[in-house]
Symmetry: C2
Subunit: 351 residues, 2 copies
């Protein structure tokens, strides 16, 4: 590798002069600067960032710590971050945890050793104590999931309200047996979404202890398939289904297509997130749209400002983006006797 010393020797000047010429220092004559830049270019000199960092300069790397890049939420976030950071000369490190706290810890150790400038993290359910310690030493930002021990800098969506709306949509259509399939309550998002679901049930005068909530790994497409099969095979199958994860939604749609379940006649479905395929699935999937792109952009801008301005404006920061229900064809009033249960309306078109 070419160093400033190589350039200095070739030109018969000192390394200081080379360094200053490359830094465009005003004390160096234009002629010298020109010769140095010429030589550097010819010789293929590339400054060694490791050496620069040893002199106290911070790195230009920001790490994104997420469960799985294949989840389109996270790839969208990664793209948006990358785009915004590239303009500021930052690079993006990618760490996948697979929702395993030990993997998360290993990654955070590595990132800490690499002295990354900042970390954007979607934490696991219960981060290891050492992970918490490591994060404290680096400017960081929680994304989507908010764990109290990791500080109060957080960008996320209103999970509670999103699921409340989605469920209320089914309640309003007269469904009384509504199931929920989402992530575990150990995850902050899982807990909020379940709360929103139950809250909407209560508001609609329905019992919320129905045991119609299936919780499990939110990134596991196969779990979505199996769970929806269990729900439909059960003794008292629901007429409505609300989903609380994009991967689970993918699994459910796959399974419903394969089993030939008639939507919305046999089952009304509200998905989570908005993938390309959701609009053309069956009758079109009614789903919860989330402003992931905007959130990621906000996140990137916040961190860039945090890293490029001197004063440590480390006050608590929280940004909650609202979701919005996208109504397509996968939801309709329930058919059959269950429909009469919703009070005064005449049972027109009953089958």
């Amino acid at each position: 590798m070419i160093t400033t010393r190589d350039i200095a020797e070739r030109l018969g000047i000192s390394v200081s002069t080379v360094g200053r010429a490359l830094a465009d220092d005003s004390r160096i004559s234009e002629e010298t600067k020109f010769r140095v830049r010429q030589a550097a270019s010819e010789m293929g000199y590339v400054a060694n960032r490791a050496a620069r960092m040893m002199r106290g300069a911070s790195s230009n790397v920001v790490a994104l710590v997420i469960p799985d890049i294949r989840n389109s939420f996270y790839s969208t976030i990664a793209h948006e971050l990358s785009k915004n950071m590239e303009a500021q000369g930052f690079q993006l490190m990618l760490s996948e945890t697979d929702d395993d706290r030990m993997v998360e810890l290993r990654h955070l150790r590595e990132l800490s050793a690499s002295r990354v400038a900042g970390i954007i993290i979607v934490p696991t359910a219960r981060p290891h104590n050492d992970s918490v310690k490591l994060l404290r030493a680096v400017p960081h930002l929680q994304l989507l999931r908010k764990h109290p021990s990791l500080g109060s800098q957080w960008f996320g969506v209103d999970d509670y309200e999103a699921l409340r709306q989605a469920t209320a949509h089914l309640v309003a259509q007269g469904h009384t047996r509504i199931a929920y399939l989402g992530g575990p309550v150990e995850l902050p998002t899982g807990a909020e979404r379940l709360k929103g679901f139950r809250s909407a049930l209560r508001e609609g005068g329905l019992p919320d202890d129905a045991g119609l909530a299936e919780l499990g790994p939110p990134s596991d497409v196969d779990h979505g398939r199996q769970a929806v099969r269990r729900l439909l095979e059960g003794p008292s199958a629901p007429t409505g289904l609300v989903l609380g994860s994009i991967q689970l939604t993918l699994g459910v749609l796959e399974e419903l297509s394969q089993q030939g379940v008639k939507v919305p006649q046999e089952l009304s479905v509200v998905g989570f997130g908005d993938e390309p395929g959701f609009s053309w699935w069956g009758p079109g999937l009614t789903t919860i749209g989330l402003p992931i792109q905007e959130m990621a952009t906000g996140c990137a801008l916040w961190l860039m400002r945090r890293l490029t301005t001197k004063p440590g404006n480390d006050g608590p920061y929280t940004s909650v983006s609202p979701g919005s229900l996208i109504v397509r064809g996968s939801t309709a009033p329930p058919s059959g006797p269950a429909r009469a249960r919703r009070g005064g309306r005449p049972s027109s078109q009953a089958g």
Copy 2:
């Protein structure tokens, strides 16, 4: 930040001893090792990799340079690489080029300054000359696209054969007006895929100069929508359509759904890649399945071996994975007069 010096001062020993204790050097007594490790843990010591790198150690970072992480091909690759590299203690840097050679160059400069250990790149159509120079200094591997100036280490798929098969499938069903929508010939993949398409036409005795090939930005979903609209509105609309990019396929499916085009009655479609939604789109999308995951794994293993073994086994290496046609419901013999063109078969079930 805590350094070995801090630990040394606290324990009243030298930095050398601390360093050797942490490196588990056999010359250090077990008792000292224990005390050092204890102190390091308590004080939250994390080794500074920048300093370590200055002593000639190579970094543990591998960069992935791709057009866009939102493309599921690339997110799958990123995931697979990440998973395989994590076990070996490597980290993944993500660089998106948006297929812009200047962005690509900027990223490669940064990566070079960071002294990444290796680079896996899906190059742009015509990489900048400086990009070529920079890559030469780092162990690297081309993925999917193969540009001659970047060396002969390459992992990819058999683009030619994949498109030949896909097109032949339509030819065999009796289509005579088959359109192709894919990336530009400037891209190695674009050129190969177009060649495969035209080759299948010739083999089927069809003219291959039909002008039914629409080429354009392969990552642009909207371009897919517009292009298929143009094809269908044209004076001589095709009865079959073969696609040469996953993003274009997404756009086409969206547009066909929206316009209510009857598939396969009005148009037979063969997609590219296999997304979750492809199986439930319309009658199920016949598509070209590609072993992206296996290819990425092979890629990761090759680079890991390359980086962890001493001798620079830099001989040319090329691995071509075959694709396979997944036949679903979106392809069928053409209806209408065009069908009679395919020789002797009686026109049963004509309508």
